[in-house]
């Protein structure tokens, strides 16, 4: 799904004043801002330093997810750490092998931190700071340290002997070409474990602080917002109660290429808390016009009250239902909507939302070969399933880790 330039610049404009560009421009750091409320958490701002570090032009970077920096030897577990930090909406710091546009690998001390809205505690952006460091220099430091680090694979003479005979045994077997391993660590090529020097870490930490300060100082107050902060002002659970969809749930929802809305039955009049882009395209309404309102604005003069009643009864009974209902777009034109409604439960096991997936019938009637590819009805169900998987783990506090308070601290 292509993102419009408007959306990307709006992401920055909505929360920060014009002065931000100037003050960030003064910083000599490599960093990006990404927006997890847009599909696939794309970069919405990139510093000059980032572009010269990565070798990409500015326009090649804006609108894309940062993963283009990864390459063949990037450690998979490290990528999981970053993904998990985005999912848990918390900071992380990793040593990751990245690649420039021309395919040259470099070690990157990557630091990521969320930026929260002061109004409702949601994550509005992630700041990602890249600090390339020299692996060889880091290895030299590590080698100098007297610790018997596993990475250095120091083995005593006995083990060496044992291992050598082992190897000889293997040769007697059918081994294609010995299997084995060097006894010496060469940290430069060991992309499994590579640690930056303390001064690099210091530089990175300083960069993050400076950028966060800049963001806060230049944040936009007014128009309903109260600026941004580096710590969350409201607990996730609290925001959820207010009908706010957290950023990690949003990231999952924006992957679904169907028309659907989520409505919160625990709020008065069961308002919509999320509407997909396709929904907006079909109905002609914008997301702002729709969020906070009950779905009934889609009904009109010729809508069958029995269909509405069926919907009401299903919600009361916490059941799924499918109805064919006449709906109206913003421009007052009508369309037959094959609506599938289903309760969606969170990790507590209780109903957190109702998902309504719309199917405009004029699209269906012009379907091609019925046997090949997924039918529109099936795609509707697929959207329901995807929502259920996402909400179960990501709604409210969901399946996030919590850390015990250590009494020894």
């Amino acid at each position: 799904m292509e993102l419009g330039e408007e959306e990307l610049t709006a992401s920055v404009k909505r929360y920060y004043k014009e002065s931000l560009k100037h003050s960030l421009g003064q910083c000599d750091f490599n960093f990006v801002l990404s927006d997890p409320r847009l599909p696939d958490n794309p970069i919405v701002y990139a510093s000059e330093g980032f572009c010269s570090m990565s070798g990409y032009e500015h326009h090649e970077v804006i609108g894309r997810n940062c993963r283009f920096l990864q390459g063949p030897d990037t450690d998979r577990r490290t990528v999981l750490e970053i993904r998990d930090a985005v999912r848990e909406e918390r900071p992380c710091q990793v040593h990751i092998l990245n690649y420039t546009k021309h395919g040259n690998p470099f070690w990157n001390l990557f630091y990521m931190a969320p930026v929260y809205s002061r109004k409702d505690g949601t994550v509005v952006h992630f700041v990602g700071v890249q600090t390339p460091f020299s692996a060889a220099a880091a290895a030299a430091t590590a080698a100098a340290a007297p610790l018997a680090s596993k990475k250095l694979n120091l083995m005593d003479a006995e083990k060496r002997k044992e291992a050598r005979s082992e190897c000889l045994q293997q040769i007697q077997g059918e081994a294609p070409a010995g299997l084995c391993v060097s006894l010496e660590a060469d940290e430069e090529e060991d992309n499994h474990k590579c640690v930056a020097k303390d001064e690099d870490k210091g530089r990175a930490a300083c960069a993050v602080q400076t950028i966060l300060c800049n963001l806060m100082e230049n944040s936009r107050i007014g128009g309903g917002g109260r600026g941004v902060a580096e710590t969350r002002c409201k607990e996730i659970a609290e925001s959820a109660v207010g009908g706010v969809v957290c950023s990690s749930l949003m990231l999952s929802l924006t992957r679904i290429q169907q028309s659907f809305v989520l409505a919160d039955p625990k709020l008065p009049d069961i308002p919509i808390v999320h509407a997909s882009k396709v929904f907006c395209e079909i109905t002609g309404y914008s997301q702002e016009e729709v969020i906070g309102r009950n779905c009934r604005f889609l009904q009109g003069p010729d809508t069958d009250p029995e269909a509405v009643q069926k919907i009401r009864e299903s919600i009361a009974g916490e059941r799924a239902c499918t109805v064919r209902i006449l709906n109206y777009r913003k421009d007052k034109t009508s369309f037959w909507n094959h609506l599938h409604l289903s309760p969606v439960r969170s990790a507590t096991g209780e109903v957190a939302f109702y998902v309504g997936v719309q199917l405009a019938m004029d699209i269906v009637d012009s379907a091609g070969d019925e046997n090949v590819g997924m039918t529109p009805y099936m795609k509707q169900l697929g959207a329901v399933g995807a929502v259920k998987v996402a909400v179960r783990s990501l709604q409210g506090s969901g399946l996030r880790r919590s850390f015990k308070k250590n009494s020894e601290e």
């Binding site: 060496r160 084995c180 329901v384």
Partner: protein, 435 residues
């Protein structure tokens, strides 16, 4: 002969019934399958490779931001069966939480999964057992429980057919009627071959291909050998969705094969985790990964060591856990407290997703109690080191050739004072295996 008594999980409705062959229903046996038409998803082998290589493209322009085809299909079909009431309970109504602590063990209270049937005896000291047609197997599953068949396409693209004539012995994706999570399915390769539960390179490759095709880091596949809590002795894998990392995926790893050339399988050892295991990471060949894992499992099978396998990270990381819980249980070596929870530690539990049958266990669950349970599953460090050596040998010595990330020849050789050894007339130098 060592046995334990436990209640078998009900994975299919017909498991409860006594069905003879020639059943008259729409099952998956040779009585009903010829001439049958089932939904079919074909995946492109080349596409699998592309998806794998996607990660390697320097300027990756392919869209990673939308749900994939197989993903949407599987979820759609599963939701459809939910609507039709084919599951024994609504798994999304089961409470679940992450136990406080850094590891993030996931506990679920699932009182409905437990079947009220009386326990049956399971032999725990024989990992390879012959297929027994008289016992419940997947040819007896009703066709309505099948979501679709899963076959390689001829032209390298992926496509879905609502009704296609079934091949002689199709690979079938069926629902698990006692799901652990949303989307819980069974992958049954070549259902009519009636293969017993055991790993081989071809069917393992199929499982990997499914993971690659689903292209979703929260969709994992798992395998339990006999003696490691497989319920049915008919070759199958399980899979489901959970939008959270498993603790085992977070665990740190240490490279066993150190220093490499690009493209081969990486083999690592798990650290800081209650169950000792090996981790295999893909290089640029899915086949090599399949062979490496399969060779390891074949060794374990032949050595009669029960084990579990987890396929994670879109088919890019595979975890192999040799285990001994059942054996210890049979010998009366497991704490009664742990036995009382009636948790059978199979691949999902070992990975850190623990389904509990009793509320009191759920409410008193902690990271420590989870760790304690899983520690009982693991081989001891000594035993594991032994097994590991044999596994690594079998990865390279077995008939299926595997390309592993290989060391480069360099000055370190001279430092060690080792002489080169010629193999097959090639001037390969042999370095030493780190154990």
């Amino acid at each position: 002969m060592l046995t334990i008594k436990r209640v078998a999980t009900l994975v299919s409705i017909n498991q409860e019934l006594e069905q003879a062959a020639g059943c008259g229903k729409d099952c998956l046996g040779s009585c009903c399958m010829p001439g049958a038409k089932l939904p079919l998803y074909t995946f492109g082998r080349r596409r699998s490779v592309d998806l794998l290589k996607k990660k390697m493209a320097v300027a990756c322009s392919t869209n990673d931001g939308d749900n994939g085809f197989l993903d949407s299909l599987l979820l759609a079909q599963w939701e459809d069966r939910m609507d039709k009431g084919l599951f024994r309970y609504d798994v999304t109504a089961c409470e679940t939480m992450v136990l406080p602590g850094e590891h993030g063990f996931i506990a679920q209270l699932n009182e409905g999964r437990h079947s009220k049937k009386r326990p049956t005896e399971f032999r725990v000291d024989q990992v390879l057992q012959p297929f027994d047609g008289k016992k419940f197997n997947f040819t007896k599953v009703g066709q309505e429980e099948v979501l679709f068949c899963f076959e390689e396409s001829e032209d390298g693209t992926s496509q879905y057919y609502e009704k296609a004539p079934v091949s002689w012995s199709p690979n079938v994706i069926a629902i698990n009627v006692s799901p652990i999570e949303y989307g819980h399915v069974l992958l049954i390769p070549c259902v009519l071959d009636c293969t017993p539960q055991r790993i081989d390179p071809d069917t393992f490759l199929l499982a990997l291909q499914m993971a690659v095709e689903a292209d979703n880091p929260y969709f994992r596949l798992g395998y339990n050998s006999l003696g490691a809590f497989a319920t049915i002795n008919h070759l199958h894998f399980q899979a489901y969705y959970l939008a959270a990392p498993f603790p085992v995926e977070r665990a740190p790893t240490t490279l066993i094969c150190h220093r490499w050339k690009k493209g081969g399988v990486k083999i690592l050892e798990l650290g800081n985790f209650p169950v000792r295991g090996l981790v295999f990471e893909v290089g640029d060949s899915l086949e090599d990964l399949a062979n490496a894992v399969a060779n390891t499992c074949i060794y374990l099978q032949n050595a009669n060591i029960p084990f579990n396998v987890l396929i994670a990270d879109r088919g890019g990381r595979v975890f192999v856990f040799p285990q001994c819980f059942a054996e210890r249980q049979a010998r009366g070596e497991v704490e009664q407290e742990i036995l009382d929870t009636q948790v059978n530690p199979a691949v999902w539990e070992i990975s850190g997703h623990i389904v509990l049958k009793r509320r009191l266990d759920y409410e008193s669950a902690t990271e420590e109690s989870a760790w304690r349970l899983l520690a009982e599953v693991s081989l001891t460090q000594e035993r594991f080191d032994e097994v590991k050596k044999h596994c690594l040998k079998s990865v390279f010595n077995a008939p299926n050739k595997v390309k592993v990330e290989m060391p480069t020849m360099d000055s370190s050789l001279h430092l060690m004072g080792m002489s080169g050894v010629a193999l097959n007339g090639q001037s390969e130098h042999c370095l030493v295996l780190q154990v």
